[in-house]
């Protein structure tokens, strides 16, 4: 391909044993997009590496770099071109990439956040009922007044198995966006990787703390809003506009890039009480462990016979489930 007027790839880095090919794509006069690989794929190992490199880029404290916005396979760099040139920025990314030559080097700081979860609580049930009454009375994803049975059907498993999968894996935050304070949470264990379609059309209301899943990602709603994820329960606040609780003293957000979320089941009463302790009394203690992800260990575990066997079994059930479950 000759140099055309719509060529947007400013520079590239070749693929190596531990890294996909990198494309630096032009995105206006204040952004570049760093894209990993040419294939549209969503693999956590790509995200681990990108976020570890992102930490190195941020550590350079480049003057004029406003922010970075990692997705699952791209990183958007937002900068002020009057303070930082594109060439200098690309050089800084290249240098950061090259400082991490092998997969052994990919060690990502990652907090583990324990979140209480009440399955099928009355607040999220209200949201489902409102949708059925006002938006789509014949919604096939509502069975017995909720979405859990439809979620199970799509994956060819039981409701009990669905709950066990939600509780049985850690959910990795590949980066936020989309809604204030939100995070896209991906299952780290492929044996728990349930997949569901999104609402069609979307809901007009979802309560704060609602926990839902759309495609492969879990989302915990930060504020009351519309939304399209299938609802399975409610967790505690992960966002606070007023920044009153000590957890939110530096900003309204709980989630950071590379966090892992682990849900544990509690009663609805317990979840509701925690709302009072976060927003009013501001004395709730969030349960957060510091930790890290070693990409090499994860990839070895992921590729192990036991994990791959379990993942294949779930995929087979999902293929059957997809045939049976009505489309939305």
């Amino acid at each position: 391909m000759s140099q055309g007027k719509y060529d947007v790839i400013l520079d590239t880095m070749p693929a190596t044993e531990s890294r996909l090919e990198i494309m630096f794509r032009q995105a206006g006069d204040g952004f570049i997009q760093v894209e990993y690989g040419r294939e549209q794929r969503a693999m956590l190992q790509d995200s681990f590496r990108m976020l570890a490199v992102n930490d190195i880029i941020m550590g350079k404290e480049l003057k004029g770099l406003i922010e970075t916005v990692p997705g699952i396979r791209t990183n958007l760099l937002h900068f002020d071109p009057s303070e930082l040139s594109v060439d200098k920025l690309i050089d800084a990314v290249k240098e950061s990439e090259e400082s991490m030559p092998t997969v052994d080097d990919v060690v990502l700081p990652s907090r583990l956040i324990h979140l209480p979860l009440a399955f099928e609580d009355s607040e999220t049930k209200k949201a489902v009922a409102k949708y059925q009454k006002e938006v789509r009375p014949d919604a096939p994803n509502i069975i017995n007044g909720y979405n859990l049975e439809y979620m199970a059907m799509c994956n060819g498993i039981t409701v009990d198995e669905t709950k066990k999968m939600i509780l049985g894996t850690d959910w990795f935050n590949s980066g936020g966006g989309f809604w204030p304070g939100g995070a896209f949470l991906w299952p780290t264990d492929p044996r728990c990787a349930i997949v569901v379609p999104k609402y069609n059309p979307p809901r007009t209301w979802t309560p704060e703390g609602a926990a839902g899943i759309g495609g492969p990602c879990v989302f915990t709603y930060t504020t009351p809003t519309g939304g399209g994820y299938q609802l399975f329960g409610r967790t505690i606040p992960v966002f606070q506009f007023a920044c009153k609780h000590p957890m939110f003293k530096d900003g309204p957000f709980l989630y950071r890039n590379a966090d892992r979320v682990r849900f544990h089941e509690v009663s609805e009463k317990e979840v509701v009480e925690i709302y009072g302790h976060v927003h009013d009394k501001t004395d709730y203690t969030y349960e957060i462990d510091q930790g890290e992800i070693k990409a090499k260990e994860y990839i070895e575990w992921f590729n192990s016979e036991e994990v791959q066997k379990g993942a294949a079994e779930l995929k087979a059930k999902q293929a059957e489930g997809t045939k049976k479950a009505p489309r939305l």
């Binding site: 204040g30 406003i66 997705g71 936020g176 966006g177 204030p180």
Partner: protein, 327 residues
Amino acid sequence: MLKIINGGIETLVEDWPGRLGYLGKGMSASGSFDCVGLGLANVLVGNPSGQAGMEITGGFFEAEFTDDHVIALTGTDMQPTINGEPVEMWTSLKVSAGDKIKLLHIAPTGFRCYLAVAGGVDVPAYLGSKSTCIFGAYGGFDGRPLTAGDEVKFGAPSADLSDLTGRKLKPEAMPEYTNQWVLRAIPGPNTCPDYATQEGMDLLFSRVSKIQHTSNRSAYRLEELPDSFFARTDGGVGGSHPSNIIDHAYAIRGALNICGNTPILLVADGPTLGGYMCALNVINADLWKVGQGAPGRDFMQFQLATQEEAIQARKEQKQWLSEDSLA
């Protein structure tokens, strides 16, 4: 202070460059939709050009000053009056306690009017900015448009009111309004040959498209593109439509999202991330024009630009929105 009698169609507190640095937290920059209108109004009243002012969209705003102030009105001509008497725009005016300001509807060109007051609007900054994000209901004045009964406070002026009164712009500093806005744009990140066809990109950069009436502070929607725009038949793992890709962050403000066959310019309060390709970015120095484009009336056209031109245009705009523009 300003007591609001009628907030009109939509009046928001906005500053510039807005709330930068929170895209990854799902918060777009918001900010003045036309930073030239706000910037020149601020310069006229002796404020820094990015100081918070009032962005009046559509019109029918009405309010009463409770003290003496110096103000300036810029943007579309909403036939402003004070106590029923017509007043000039694009100049700084002294107002006194008890004066009532009233605006009518938009002029044949332009869509937003800016009201700056010497000292700037005094609301608490939220995450570094006084801008309102109307879509997320935060920032600015309680995260919402101004409404009857609200009392808007102002900071201290930079000089004596008499020294700030009667300032005007050089004729060449007046922005030119039109019904067909030419927006300089840089292609990317998703173009030909991998996402769009050469023919499709040529069409995108040559056609004139009406701004759809469904446009707002998050998104300016344009006319649909033909299927021949796309180089792919589907979006692979990203989805069934060729505009789908695996979610990526949007380079806002100014990214052109291709959502199905509809091109959508993501602006002030737009989404920060999603699963649609982006074919171009309006250059930062031309974003202001989008804010003066009236949905359902005006047209837009993209003109191919380079990064070098865009950076030069940023410098020129910085100069433009300074005291150098005063007569």
